[in-house]
């Protein structure tokens, strides 16, 4: 009886061992090719020093889709630009540039310009007319020139504010308006920016046609730069426009044109432009806009509170002769020699009784 029981127990043990071995076999066999592959890769890596490529078709497919090594085009039944590209890795480059470079450095640049202006104002103060006002006037800007200027100002700031909201709104406005509030604001700003945008082209063209004549650099402009624009006590001679104004004019022309061209590429995406061109256009658009907005702070400062008597040249069209002598002496001499100085008290030097505000010349 005991012998029979021992035999039964021995068979059970054998059966158990068989089951365990079978289980071990089933679990181990699929790992054998992997182990061989890893071993082969290790061997290959020890020889070449490079990680091995896995011959897994799914990995190959994903690598093709992800396109880390540049964009490659496949075929598609659908029609449209970039239709053969599933994932464009350069979009990530653009996103990172926008988030990590354009936004923080753009904000820092704008803040630096505002800070510099404030410091300058604190230490230098307003540039006043030391001679006082003479009461005699000179026509500086015609009505058409002033209309073009203020038209450009209106369009520039409409686009500037909506553009800044689109660029910095997520960081600045979501905490204030909430996500839904910002989505409404962003939608409104996007539509406004896109619709008003093309008018900036008209503004830049008008500015170019009306102001280019007197904005070419001359030798006197180098001297003006060397003397710091007369801001530090030394008189800097200048013609109708000084070198600072000319620099601003050319910045507007160059970066304004860049803004217009890239804006049209972004706004009317129906002419076959792909994502890469659009991303490049966006980068140029953002940099140009932030640069112009930043420099415009300086332009606004000098045109309003920075220099006494400047703003009236763009509102009434006329400047006081003391202002002209102080800041544009060469231009003043030309105008005075041609007898275009107006003395409201006695009529102008040509004997006319017209004066600022009613002179027909200001309406041309």
């Amino acid at each position: 009886m005991a012998t029979v029981n021992n035999k039964k127990a021995a068979r059970m043990r054998k059966a158990m061992y068989c089951c365990l071995l079978s289980l071990l076999f089933v679990l181990t066999v699929p790992l054998i090719p992997y182990a061989i592959d890893v071993h082969a890769d290790d061997a290959a890596m020890s020889k070449t020093g490079q990680p091995p490529s896995l011959d897994d078709p799914a990995i190959d497919l994903w690598n093709e889709v992800r396109q880390r090594n540049g964009v490659s085009y496949g075929s598609s039944q659908t029609e449209g630009v970039d239709r053969g590209v599933l994932i464009n890795s350069k979009g990530e480059d653009w996103r990172r540039f926008r988030m990590e470079m354009l936004l923080p450095y753009g904000a820092m640049f704008m803040a630096a310009v505002i800070g510099a202006i404030m410091l300058f104002y604190m230490f230098h103060g307003k540039t006043v007319l030391t001679e006082g006002r003479s009461g005699k006037k000179i026509l500086r800007f015609t009505l058409n020139q002033r209309t073009a200027h203020w038209f450009t100002v209106g369009i520039f700031w409409l686009l500037g504010i909506t553009g800044l909201i689109l660029l910095y709104g997520r960081a600045v406005l979501i905490p204030l308006l909430g996500a839904e509030g910002f989505s409404v604001t962003a939608s409104a700003c996007k539509e406004m920016h896109n619709l008003i945008g093309p008018l900036f082209l008209l503004a830049v063209l008008a500015m170019m046609l009306l102001f280019i004549k007197d904005n070419f650099f001359k030798l006197v402009d180098l001297k003006w730069f060397a003397k710091g624009g007369g801001m530090f006590g030394v008189h800097a001679s200048a013609g109708r426009f000084n070198a600072g104004e000319k620099t601003w004019f050319w910045l507007v022309m160059i970066f304004g044109t860049a803004l217009c061209v890239t804006g049209l590429i972004l706004d009317f995406s129906v002419f076959g432009q792909g994502r890469e061109l659009m991303a490049l256009a966006h980068v140029i658009h953002g940099i140009s806009a932030l640069l112009l907005i930043s420099v415009s702070f300086g332009h606004i400062y000098l045109g309003t509170i920075g220099v006494e008597g400047t703003l009236e040249s763009m509102t009434t069209g006329y400047v006081d002769t003391s202002w002209a002598k102080a800041h544009h002496d060469q231009w003043y001499e030309q105008v005075a020699a041609s007898g275009e100085v107006i003395d409201p008290a006695q009529g102008d030097s040509k004997g006319s009784v017209s004066g600022p505000g009613v002179n027909p010349a200001a309406s041309d």
Partner: protein
């Protein structure tokens, strides 16, 4: 709440004020009695009226070069606004649904964009010119500036609602339109309706006296 007000009672009030106001203004002009003209007519009043209406569309030769900007910007704004008002797809749908009951062919999207650009450019140029020109600034009243700003705001809110992604933006645009409709009959904006009878009357009056307007 705001949307309900704008789409409901406020719209009804604006519509009533708009049409009743225009009717009142037109009737006021028509009821003015003029002295009967017993003089022998030197020329046809009818021809004078027709010619005055036609000539009104062109600047006088003597001042044409001086008013070039106003004329060009004026045409840009008025033609652009007319096209937007009556041929923009959302407006055609809205007018058909709420006013006329029938619709007409709307302009394509690209034409809508062009019309908007032209209208915006024209309006901004006209207003900047009005403020900067010493003569137009002197003869402009507060109501002229209010009318310009109100029209600009209506156009701007319309532009903001263009994406049709937000009911709030659409309601805001409609609210500004309703404000404009209420203001319209009591302002210089009435020139949109009165320019024809005004030119006709003046043209006929002077035409009878042999004066070519």
């Amino acid at each position: 709440m705001f949307e309900q007000l704008v789409n409901g009672i406020f719209w009804d009030i604006a519509l009533i004020v708009f049409f009743a106001g225009i009717a009142w203004r037109v009737l006021t002009v028509l009821r003015r009695r003029n002295h009967h003209d017993f003089s022998q007519p030197r020329n046809s009043g009818l021809i004078g009226a027709v010619m005055a209406n036609i000539h009104g569309f062109f600047p006088r030769r003597e001042v044409a070069s001086r008013v070039r900007l106003q004329v060009i910007a004026g045409y840009m704004f008025h033609l652009g606004l007319f096209a937007l008002l009556f041929f923009a797809a959302p407006h055609v749908t809205f007018i058909a649904k709420h006013i006329t009951g029938f619709s007409w062919t709307a302009m394509p999207y690209w034409a809508f964009i062009v019309a908007s650009e032209i209208a915006f450019a024209g309006l901004i140029l006209l207003w900047v010119h009005r403020v900067l020109n010493p003569v137009t600034r002197l003869i402009s009243r507060r109501s002229d500036h209010i009318a310009t700003i109100l029209v600009f705001v209506v156009m701007l809110t319309g532009c903001m609602a263009l994406g049709e992604s937000s009911a709030e933006l659409k309601a805001f645009h409609r609210f500004t339109v309703e404000l404009l409709m209420i203001y319209f009959p009591f302002s210089a904006l009435m020139h949109a309706i009165m320019f024809v009878p005004s030119r006709t009357y003046s043209g006929a009056f002077f035409g009878r006296r042999g004066v070519n307007m």
